[in-house]
């Protein structure tokens, strides 16, 4: 229930489902719209803004006071869905924000301690809001235009101010940490779900700065990003800012100290690798693969976890994702240490063989391209004794039956390479190919026989058990007629009987159970 209730969406109107046509036109119409921020309603009464004197004209003694007043002025929110409402007020706020940005960016000595709470308050009031429901419940980031934030003219300047504030040479983390606290960061992270890419871009840079400057928040930020990802993977499958968060993590991982802490390894194994299962992988795959490779470059011992993890989550039906996985594997192999390669080569090349035999030629082709990579080729050559037997049967078979000529010729090249690498082994395998094939067929037959035997056995047993149960029941009924049953024994034999039928009926088609009752 978690996932369904947390993202309530409109169901697709029934008339449109059948009609097919109006849908697209409506979607297009929607794309032009932009979000209203729910926060607007929560302001009790609209305040009339009056322009304040310019910061640059203010005498030094009054500068801080004026700065503070401007910050307070910027706490007033405006309705941007109504684009003509209170134009004057909007303009005053915009000008004030511009001045604040400019002042923080260029003049020194402006950021004194009393301004910190005011600045953070102004930022919080403006940016923290519950993101509105998506205009398009089936928003597909690859296909659809995102819905843009209507109040962006102000919001952008607020973000710009925040960024300049963090980047100012006057910025004092020791003062800021009292206001930029865990609660603040949590709200900041939630904004990464914004559909507006411009907003996420600002958030990315800002969070990166916060992470860099406020050391006390680092562990907390990592933990909360974990939670966002886990929720994305296991609960909602929806979060717009995965790519941005991964990008930040990419540089965080870069800075991890060695040896890697257990927390970081856990993050790799339990969060980054499962992220590969997401339906929308293509949107953040580049960033994800970068993070994975970063981990490997930090500490080669994680290689096995990574490869085995990827093999566990290997896409079964989505060929587009399979190509992405193969791309990531190549990136990994590019930097793999030979000692690590040996540990994973067996399961890995079984998967690669499976990809080569994919009827989707892009998958087969992507896998065969590995043989064009010199480093990978050298690894294969060193371990030819192990790898060639793993892939030979597939190469041999697919070279004869693949529908796509490019694949067939690529396979011939690969076979030729192998022949040159180890002609003796190659000849042995060619010779034994038919025999192996026969053995395989024999194993299949044996398996079929085993199961037939098992099922016959089951039928016999079920019959026996039903009969036994019937006898027992008869016996009991005879007994009960004289002696009323005691209700205090919930686990006496008659509770077994109803069990019998479900367990038997669920797995076999034996009608014995039913006909007996």
């Amino acid at each position: 229930t978690c996932s369904s209730s947390s993202t309530p969406n409109f169901s697709v109107p029934s008339a449109e489902k059948v009609d097919g046509f109006p849908r697209r036109s409506m979607r297009r119409a929607r794309q032009r719209r932009s979000h209203s921020s729910s926060q607007f309603r929560y302001q009790s009464s609209q305040v009339e803004l009056t322009p304040l004197p310019l910061l640059k004209d203010a005498p030094v003694a009054e500068l801080h006071d004026l700065f503070c007043k401007k910050l307070q002025q910027c706490c007033v929110l405006f309705d941007f869905l109504d684009c003509v409402a209170d134009l004057k007020g909007k303009e005053i706020k915009r000008a004030a924000l511009n001045e604040l940005v400019e002042s923080v960016a260029t003049s020194r000595g402006v950021l004194i301690e009393p301004l910190y709470p005011e600045a953070i308050k102004m930022i919080s009031v403006n940016i923290f809001r519950t993101l509105p429901p998506s205009e398009n419940p089936e928003f597909d980031p690859e296909e659809d235009e995102p819905t843009l934030e209507a109040s962006w003219p102000h919001l952008q300047l607020v973000y710009e101010f925040f960024l300049r504030f963090l980047e100012s040479p006057d910025f004092q983390p020791s003062m800021a940490k009292r206001y930029v606290d865990q609660k603040f960061v949590l709200q900041l992270l939630e904004l990464f779900d914004s559909e507006d890419p411009r907003e996420r871009e600002y958030l990315k840079t800002i969070l990166h700065r916060v992470y860099g400057k406020l050391l006390g928040l680092r562990a907390y930020i990592r933990k909360q990003i974990n939670n966002i990802f886990l929720r994305f993977i296991y609960e909602t499958e929806h979060f717009n800012g995965v790519a941005e968060l991964l990008e930040i993590l990419g540089s965080i991982i870069n800075g991890f100290a060695l040896p890697l802490k257990a927390e970081h390894k856990q993050f790799l194994v339990r969060v980054l690798i499962p992220l590969h299962t997401a339906k929308s992988l293509s949107i953040f795959h580049a960033q994800l693969a970068y993070c994975v490779v970063q981990f490997m470059e930090k500490d080669a011992t994680v290689t096995e976890y990574i490869i085995r993890g990827l093999l566990k989550y290997w896409p079964k039906t989505c060929t587009q994702k399979e190509v992405m996985f193969l791309g990531e594997i190549e990136e990994i192999l590019d930097v793999i240490e030979p000692s690590q390669f040996i540990r994973v080569q067996e399961p890995l090349f079984k998967q690669i063989a499976a990809c080569i035999s994919s009827p989707h030629f892009q998958v087969a082709e992507r896998a065969l391209y590995f043989w064009n990579n010199e480093y990978i080729l050298s690894l294969i050559e060193e371990n030819c004794q192990v790898i060639l037997p793993l892939v030979f049967a597939t190469l041999y078979r697919v070279s004869k039956e693949h529908w796509n000529q490019t694949i067939v010729s690529l396979i011939y090249n690969v076979l030729k390479t192998f022949m040159e690498m180890n002609s003796k082994l190659f000849d042995d395998l060619t010779a034994s190919y038919k025999v192996e094939k026969q053995k395989e067929l024999k194993r299949d037959r044996e398996r079929a026989d085993l199961w037939r035997g098992l099922e016959e056995h089951q039928d016999r047993r079920m019959q026996m058990l039903t009969e036994a149960a019937r006898n027992q029941r008869n016996l009991q009924e005879r007994g009960e007629r004289g002696d009323p049953p005691s209700p205090s024994s919930p686990q006496t034999s008659h509770s077994d009987q109803p069990e019998l039928k479900p367990s038997g009926a669920s797995s076999s088609s034996s009608g014995g159970g039913e006909s007996a009752t």
């Binding site: 229930t1 978690c2 209730s5 947390s6 993202t7 309530p8 969406n9 409109f10 109107p13 029934s14 008339a15 449109e16 059948v18 009609d19 109006p22 209203s36 729910s38 926060q39 607007f40 309603r41 929560y42 519950t130 509105p132 429901p133 609660k183 949590l186 939670n227 886990l230 929720r231 296991y234 609960e235 339990r270 499962p274 566990k312 079984k350 398996r447 085993l450 199961w451 035997g453 098992l454 099922e455 056995h457 089951q458 047993r461 079920m462 026996m464 058990l465 036994a468 919930p490 686990q491 509770s495 077994d496 069990e499 019998l500 479900p502 367990s503 038997g504 669920s506 797995s507 076999s508």
Partner: protein, 589 residues
């Protein structure tokens, strides 16, 4: 049973386990799905001592295999030797309840819940409850999430000391560090409250509920709203105000629309749970706010509940509440900017007429229906039309048609064929209620116009509609008003219209009777057998087959037979086919 195990030695466990370990996932999956067969072959003893330990140790596998395993184990009680031994199933299920993949975990929890019932109270304390505790204090969030679903199944059947421990564990999970666990706990809060003693509901559950309802994450808060329904149902009326209402009021005004949406979505349940007094004082204003919410999703969810909410209002001042508090909001929603909101409202608004009665309906509701009937969004119009019958019951069809007829006539030409279709489906009902004269005057032209609609579904429905009208008004009426027009279309230059004539004849012949069919329809059909378009000709064959049973044998032999014979030699193979079929069905050969 021991004797029945005699032939088990045929299957050494190694062979069977090899099957469960097969390299090919699909084969492994097949084997796991037949796990009961394997267990049966091994017998209960070896299933317990050899198979289950193996399964427990090899939990690392494809999620699909694990899912099948988790499901199988829920039905394994008999295969391990009955309830006495059911606890043997706990170790593998415990591991499954900790894996990453949600579906697997959920299935393991489901199976655990199932087999918990088969434990004796002693086994429950010795084996099951320790498992719940272990899960509840696991390192990774997955095991703690799974634990949340297991408290309520063991609580009622354990001793009071163990009960106290269980309550403590639940409390801990409600304030867990990870939001995933808090969400799981929040979603099970209502279920857990139901098995607790009332005193503990008041002391423990309420504080947990209050805490979860003010969680920092809206995804947790909204689940507390769900729990609110169960909790409010459990508490005596006098405690509701102090224990539940502050939290509910806060949820209805939550800053996150998701929470408000949840309140709106659960409104009817909440209303029933808190009773009439609180509904009057608190829920009515809350509902008004939700109907006026700034977020369209919330308004739509609330609009969906308008009818149910009004229905469940205390009868003594229901009408007054609706008229003064709800109706003004409803009026605003009729012209909402969001089509989903209007459409949600349109699907329930007609239900208000039963509650408000005839006079109020005519005075206050009809204008709203009319406005929605003319809405620019087809979904809205459709929802109104599809619910006309409830208004019909209250104010009568004559009143309804007088006020709504102009709008209906307009909709009969709606650009959306689905709307036109919905209107057609109302025609027989309207015709029956309005009578022949009124119908002829106002609606007949419409019904005929649909016959040449450019959408086939409409033409088809229009044909069927004619049949129903004839059934109502009789053959004579048909002969005078419909048949001439239908037959006239046989000369239409558009072959689709000519075919409509045939389709109408198919539908009408039975209702019109032998006389009209033979004298008026048959000649037209026969004449159409010379049509240039093959589709028309084979439909002639089909029509003849269809109306044949209505004709007398003389007409069949002298008029139908020669035409069909001619068609049977047609150059077009489909025409031939249908002509031959008609000949054999009518036994003319």
């Amino acid at each position: 049973m021991a004797g029945a195990d005699g032939d088990d030695s045929l299957y050494p466990i190694a062979v069977l386990i090899d099957e469960l370990r097969n390299e090919d996932v699909q084969l492994r999956l097949n084997s796991i799905k037949k796990l009961s067969t394997i267990a049966l072959a091994l017998g209960v003893e070896r299933t317990r001592t050899e198979l289950l330990p193996f399964l427990t140790d090899t939990i690392y596998d494809e999620d699909e295999v694990l899912l099948a395993l988790a499901e199988q184990l829920g039905n394994f009680t008999m295969l391990v030797g009955g309830p006495e031994y059911v606890h043997c199933l706990l170790p593998p299920l415990e591991s499954l309840a900790t894996v990453e993949e949600t579906v697997v975990r959920d299935k393991a929890v489901e199976s655990l819940r199932k087999i918990s019932q088969e434990h004796s109270p002693v086994d429950l304390e010795v084996h099951f409850e320790p498992l719940v505790k272990r899960l509840a204090s696991g390192d990774w969030f997955t095991s703690r999430t799974s634990a949340c679903g297991l408290f309520s199944v063991c609580y009622p059947r354990v001793s009071s000391t163990v009960k106290a421990e269980i309550r403590q564990h639940f409390r801990t999970l409600c304030s867990d560090d990870t939001p995933m666990v808090r969400r799981a706990a929040a979603s099970k809060l209502g279920e857990f409250a139901k098995v607790l003693e009332l005193d503990y509901v008041k002391s423990d559950i309420i504080s947990l509920f209050t805490a979860l309802a003010s969680d920092e994450q809206d995804s947790v808060r909204l689940l507390a709203v769900e729990a609110c329904v169960s909790i409010a149902t459990l508490l005596p009326q006098e405690d509701l105000e102090s224990l539940v209402m502050p939290t509910l009021r806060q949820a209805a005004e939550d800053k996150s629309w998701r929470v408000r949406y949840m309140v709106a979505d659960k409104f009817s349940e909440l209303q029933k749970a808190v009773g009439p007094e609180i509904t009057k004082n608190d829920l009515v204003p809350a509902f008004q706010n939700l109907l006026k919410d700034c977020e369209a999703e919330v308004r739509a969810a609330a609009a969906n509940k308008v009818k149910e909410f009004c229905e469940n209002l205390p009868e003594d001042n229901r009408e007054q509440i609706i008229m003064t508090h709800i109706l003004p909001c409803v009026k605003e929603l009729v012209s909402d900017t969001n089509q989903h909101v209007k459409s949600a409202l349109a699907s329930v608004i007609m239900g208000l007429s039963t509650i408000l009665g005839k006079d109020n309906t005519i005075e206050h509701l009809l204008p709203l229906f009319l406005a929605q009937l003319k809405d620019e969004c087809p979904e809205v119009r459709l929802n109104i039309i599809s619910n006309l019958d409830c208004v019909n019951e209250v104010i009568g069809i004559r009143q309804l048609s007088q006020s709504l007829l102009p709008a209906i006539v307009e909709l009969a030409e709606d650009a959306k064929w689905r709307v036109r279709l919905a209107i057609i489906e109302y025609m027989p009902l309207l015709a029956g209620q309005l009578g022949v004269e009124f119908f002829d005057e106002k609606l007949n032209t419409l019904c005929m116009a649909w016959l040449i609609d450019h959408v086939y579904a409409i033409r088809e429905a229009a044909t069927c509609n004619l049949m129903k009208l004839v059934e109502k008004f009789g053959a004579e009426w048909a002969q005078n008003t419909i048949v001439p027009k239908v037959l006239g279309m046989a000369n239409d230059p558009n072959y689709l219209h000519r075919m409509t004539t045939l389709f109408c004849i198919n539908a009408l012949s039975e209702a019109c009777g032998q006389d009209i069919t033979t004298k008026q329809m048959l000649p037209v059909v026969l004449k159409m057998s010379n049509d240039q378009v093959a589709n028309v000709r084979f439909n002639v064959a089909k029509s003849l087959q269809k109306i044949g049973p209505v004709l007398d044998s003389n007409a069949l032999q002298t008029e139908v037979k020669p035409v069909l014979e001619k068609l049977a030699t047609d150059t077009d193979m489909d025409v031939k086919y249908f002509a031959q079929e008609a000949i054999s069905v009518l036994v003319l050969a």
